[in-house]
């Protein structure tokens, strides 16, 4: 197993190289020019050309990509064209917000989605099942930004229980930290809660029809034990897959949530950098996020083996 994990880790290297090259190529065919943005309103063509040369943007594509990859291999993600700050510093400033937001959202999604899906499958066709399905469809359909503003209006402006926006680190105290994350995490989690609830229900329905489940009930086992120990464990592979994918989607989905709640996360860092064509920041963030995706896939694959010992790689 360990050898397999190591092999998979090594296999991520060519994936990351391909991702890096694709990101670099895509950025350089995108319209826009950071030199023009930096040059300002009264720059002449010569001024712009000078800035492009200073930034190395006038070098051939292969030279630029070679230099960048060389720096990345040495652990240097470059420097923001605009702020002059190292990309790693910018990512460091933002990573905690996005990580906490994503973890909280996933905790809520799994904490609510899985039990609700299990109950819906167990009570298939009942009002509980229909209510869960209605909730799931609503969850899919609600735009994140709309839900965010509704929650802000109810819980922050009208009730005054929670803050409208911003982020406080854990060092500022548990309640300030939690209170700033509750609304964004709930907003972000609703879609995935619905997705996980639906997936859990569908997967459970398949397992609940199996003979061994009927046998378990016939033996007189309590429903909770049958559902959790026998059915859910066997139904969990697709759910784990969707949770893994959900993590990846959450990082992407955080862009909107971070904007609505003015959270200084990686999503907004990426969007701001794209708007300004701050190439080193975009490349750095996408490379890091791609690495996280690849690692998440690896974790999901490892979990398969843990959950189902029959699986061998």
């Amino acid at each position: 197993m360990l050898a397999e994990i190591l092999r998979r880790l090594v296999a991520t290297i060519p994936v990351m190289v391909v991702v890096a090259l694709a990101v670099f190529a895509l950025l350089h065919v995108t319209p826009g020019d950071p030199a023009v943005i930096i040059a300002g309103d009264y720059a002449t063509s010569d001024d712009i050309a000078r800035i492009r040369a200073r930034l190395g943007l006038d070098a051939p594509f292969t030279t630029q990509v070679g230099l960048w990859l060389g720096r990345v291999v040495r652990g240097d993600l470059g420097t923001s064209i605009f702020s002059g700050l190292p990309v790693s510093t910018l990512i460091g400033q933002r990573a905690a917000t996005t990580v906490w937001l994503t973890l909280f959202a996933m905790l809520i999604s799994v904490g609510v989605g899985v039990p609700v899906g299990v109950v819906a499958a167990w009570r298939r066709g009942s009002w509980v099942d229909r209510a869960v399905m209605m909730f799931a469809v609503s969850g899919f359909s609600m735009p994140t930004f709309w839900l965010g503003f509704i929650l802000v209006y109810i819980f922050a402006i009208t009730a005054g229980w929670l803050p409208v926006q911003g982020y406080q680190p854990l060092a500022a105290g548990l309640w300030p930290f939690l209170s700033h994350l509750i609304l964004p995490a709930v907003t972000l989690s609703v879609v995935y809660m619905a997705l996980i609830a639906r997936m859990t229900r569908a997967s459970m329905l398949g397992v609940l029809a199996e003979d061994y489940i009927r046998t378990a009930f016939a033996k007189g086992l309590a429903p909770r034990g049958v559902l959790i120990r026998h059915a859910l464990k066997n139904a969990s592979l697709p759910v784990v897959t969707i949770i893994g994918i959900g993590f990846a989607l959450l990082i992407g989905g955080a862009v909107v949530t971070e904007s609505v709640f003015a959270l200084p996360g990686l999503g907004r860092l990426t969007v701001d950098a794209i708007v300004r064509r701050d190439y080193p920041v975009i490349q750095g963030v996408l490379l890091v996020v791609s690495g996280v995706y690849v690692l998440l896939n690896l974790v999901v694959d490892v979990l398969y083996v843990v959950l189902d010992p029959r699986i061998r790689y």
Binding site: P31, G32, G84, Q165, V260, A262, P264
Partner: protein, 531 residues
């Protein structure tokens, strides 16, 4: 070093607080201390106010840096860091002596040499500064607090240049920092202004933190614009960046922020309904919208085709579509800011009244061959989006075929710099905007430059304009300058360097606990206090 600075700062702050307590506290009508939370118009990413013309960087610099001269709310230039100044009878030699007690944020005293280096760097970047530099000024240090500026050729508005309020403002920096090439961004933020930038707390895309500069010595005058006494009542100012207007609006209503610099006009009515909030018009001169033709390519390399743009202009239509609320906009038939000292109607008769019939006639006379007009259509800035749509309708009504090219602002910046023909990635018409302070007179107004390749995007080559601008800056008296500015306007509108599509103002919004906001083109944080 930063720890030492912080200790020095805290010691200074404590001493100032103690002195204030011992002195007559009743002398301060405003509350002292506190933190002001401010939502800025944009994200502060660039810290060098000479390297960029971005307004957000200029606004940042007004906290951190000081200026030799300031501009008061009536647009008069008044000494700020300068204590005394004199000018020779022939107007060719100026002498400036700095005030006592001016200190950089690193504790060093401000010296004449610092100002000389700062001016040299600024003159390499700024339009007004470059005009001054073209007149052969020699800057020299006379003593530790005094420096001189000797002109090679006559240049009238020296003090106006040194006190110019908008980008690039000649902010003063320590000589070692000002020695940075004008093409490079400075690496250190050390000013002598009333607030100190806290670099460790700067998070681009989120927040900027400033603390009171305890050693700052304000002028003993009432504040007005960027002139007068910069008395600081706040301990700390936190700028937040909130890209979503609805979030900023909710945060202001909930009391999580104190001052929102630029709420969209759509939000103003709701803000004014809230008893805890107030709106304020800090810059009554406002902003001017532009329609800029590209002079390099057909059809607008033809004067008659360009004149059709003036004849088709209906500023009211543009402003209705782009701004919407009449109390925040006004038509202004002229190239210099209405309400400013050089506003005039000279040569603007055609601009004041739409004449589509004449526009169609001019299009025919221009020999327009029906090729599509490429209009840069910026979709992510609402008023530019609206302006482009109005232009399409009017161009079509005038007899042009129009091709709207939709793009975001960043792409638009790259496209506008292209001199290629429109069918090869270039453009024919674009829209932009400038604050009134940047279109106040010929020496700062990019739109009336006729310097061809050296002119602003669109590159009009109108030598007569360049000569008039040179005459303007060489003129010694205000009456002569006014006459020359009128001439500039006549030629600019006749040659159609660009077409103004009206002016608008932008209110700011704050909680009523905030008081003392000054009228100026940029948000200023001295004189402001918070209850």
């Amino acid at each position: 070093m930063s720890q030492l600075d912080r200790r020095q700062f805290l010691a200074g702050a404590a001493a100032t607080a103690a002195a204030a307590a011992v002195a007559a506290p009743a002398a301060h009508a405003q509350k002292l201390g506190g933190t002001l939370r401010f939502v800025a118009q944009a994200d502060l990413k660039i810290l060098d106010p000479v390297w960029t013309t971005a307004y957000i960087t200029r606004n940042h610099a007004y906290l951190v840096y000081d200026t030799l001269f300031g501009t008061d709310e009536k647009l008069n230039v008044r000494p700020q860091m300068v204590d005394k100044h004199s000018v020779s009878k022939d107007g060719m030699k100026y002498s400036f002596t700095l005030r006592d007690g001016l200190k950089w944020h690193d504790g060093q005293a401000v010296a004449a040499e610092d100002c000389v280096e700062s001016l040299k760097r600024w003159m390499k970047k700024d339009r007004f500064g470059r005009l001054l530099a073209a007149h052969g000024p020699k800057l020299a240090v006379a003593d530790r607090k005094t420096f001189t500026l000797e002109l090679g050729e006559k240049f009238g508005p020296v003090l106006e240049a040194l006190g110019k309020p908008s980008s690039n403002v000649p902010f003063m920096m320590p000589a070692r920092i000002a020695a940075t090439s004008a093409d490079e961004q400075i690496k250190e933020v050390v000013g002598s202004g009333p607030f100190r930038f806290v670099k460790d707390d700067w998070q681009p895309g989120n927040q900027v933190v400033y603390v009171k500069h305890a050693d700052y010595v304000p002028r003993n005058e009432a504040p007005s614009g960027s002139a007068g006494g910069k008395k600081v009542n706040l301990d700390k100012v936190i700028w937040r960046y909130m890209p979503d207007a609805a979030t900023a609006s909710a945060a202001l209503a909930a009391g999580e922020i104190d001052w929102w610099e630029l709420p969209p006009i759509d939000f103003i009515a709701k803000i004014e309904q809230n008893a805890a909030l107030a709106t304020f018009l800090p810059d009554t001169l406002g902003t001017q919208g532009w329609l800029r033709p590209n002079h390099l390519h057909p059809p607008f390399n033809n004067k008659k085709a360009r004149q059709a743009l003036v004849a088709m202009m209906n500023q009211e239509t543009y402003l209705q579509a782009a701004i919407g609320v009449p109390k925040y906009y006004r038509t202004c038939a002229g190239v210099f800011a209405c309400g400013g000292p050089y506003a005039s109607k000279a040569g603007a008769e055609g601009l004041a009244k739409q004449n589509l019939e004449r526009a169609r006639q001019l299009v025919k006379e221009s020999g327009y061959d029906g090729r599509p007009i490429t209009v840069v259509h910026i979709t992510d800035i609402s008023f530019l989006n609206a302006a482009a749509l109005v232009t399409r309708e009017l161009l079509t009504a005038a007899g042009f075929t129009v091709d709207l090219k939709a793009m975001d602002w960043s792409t638009g910046l790259a496209v506008r710099a292209k001199k290629d023909p429109p069918d090869k990635g270039g453009w024919n018409v674009l829209h932009t905007w400038w604050m009134a302070a940047d279109v106040m007179h010929p020496a700062v107004h990019f739109g009336v430059s006729g310097a061809g390749p050296g002119a602003w995007f669109g590159w009009p080559e109108i030598p007569q304009l360049e000569q008039l601008i040179t005459d303007f800056v060489r003129a010694g008296d205000q009456a002569r300058r006014r006459a020359l500015a009128e001439q500039v306007q006549k030629v600019a509108l006749d040659e159609v360097a660009y077409v103004p599509w009206g002016e608008w103002t932008q209110p700011t919004a704050h909680r009523k606990s905030v008081s003392g906001i000054l009228k100026f083109i940029a948000p200023l944080f001295w004189n402001v206090s918070i209850a």
